[in-house]
Amino acid sequence: GACRVSMSMTEIRAGFTAIKANIQSRDPIRTLSILSHPQSLHKVKSSDRCCITHHLFTFYVDKVFKHCRTEDSFVNRKISSIANSFLSARRKLGQCREQNNCVCGEESTEKFKQILANYEGLNVTSAAMKSLGELDILLDWMEKSR
């Protein structure tokens, strides 16, 4: 179902852009993708977007950000900014899902399972850093599918 949630994509994008090079330099495994393997997010049907976006926000909040603490105070501050923005957005998305009864289709459920499998296939710190480094894939997909 449609979920129009106002969230500060600009702020999240700015926060990520500020640390992208630093985060991606910590990801030695370039041949693998967590979000795009085997299929791109762009294959997700529009009716499933609300549900999979909520799943992905939960994935980042529950599994990714907490394992991305670095020795760099600036990077940690930006990760905090992104994490708190995701928390705020996920809350709105959750409310929206309930009101609109956005159910997950079979395809998107499968897609999200694949993302979790890709994540669990690596050790937790590498998986978290790779996922954070792929944040622009998620942001691009969200902006494209507005």
């Binding site: 702020e11 909040v61 950000f65 907490k66 928390l87 705020s88």
Partner: protein, 204 residues
């Protein structure tokens, strides 16, 4: 080693999405006391074991104010704390009472300048940062029922609102809107200007 008291009267001044933490100075005769500030968002409380994050620009500062705008960058509840430091001695943390959510920032009306350039009604708005949009209302004086609106997501120097009727007076007012917190300021005072008179006629 004398104990250093924690800073007191810790509060946030927040206007137009700019947030400043302030506190009372800790006085030690003949010594320069320094301060360090940390913040904690809802994410840190709920998912990161209540961890605190230092703000490097306000580490070992002698000021009693810290610009926390960059770090209060999500619409969630934040906590903030300060401690005093003198050499190796550190005070306990002084934690601001309650939480701060940027949704409570006070929004002031925008500063604008209205000009009549011949028959053209122009407006110039002061830039207030990327978070701000502007809603400009304009109308011909005496025709208050026919107000027109222009929404500007970004501020460019001068904006053309309308082409005016010769000699007529037009009025303008504006308010800001911040999408991140879904709130608007009150309207600015109304400003009115008069279009140039019709100069096309031949007067004998």
């Amino acid at each position: 080693d004398a104990l250093l008291p924690a800073p007191q009267s810790i509060s946030i001044l927040s206007t137009n999405m700019k947030h400043f933490l302030t506190w009372s100075p800790v006085i030690v005769q003949g010594a320069t006391v320094r301060y360090s500030v940390e913040f904690q968002g809802e994410y840190e409380r709920e998912y990161a074991n209540g961890s605190w994050i230092p703000i490097s620009e306000c580490s070992l500062t002698t000021a009693t104010v810290c610009n926390v705008t960059e770090d209060i960058s999500a619409t969630v509840a934040y906590r903030l704390r300060v401690r005093a430091e003198l050499g190796a001695t550190r005070s306990p943390w002084g934690t601001m009472k309650g939480f701060f959510n940027r949704v409570t920032t006070s929004l002031t009306p925008p500063l604008l300048r209205v000009l009549a350039d011949g028959y053209h009604l122009l407006v110039e708005l002061a830039d207030m940062g990327p978070a701000f949009q502007f809603r400009v209302l304009y109308w011909k004086k005496g025709h208050e029922s026919r107000v027109q609106q222009k929404v500007m997501k970004e501020v460019s120097s001068m904006v053309h609102l309308d082409t005016m009727e010769a000699g007529a007076e037009y009025c303008v007012k504006a308010q800001t809107h911040v999408e991140a917190i879904n709130r608007s300021s009150s309207f600015s005072p109304t400003q009115c200007v008069r279009a140039q008179r019709d100069t096309s006629g031949w007067w004998l």
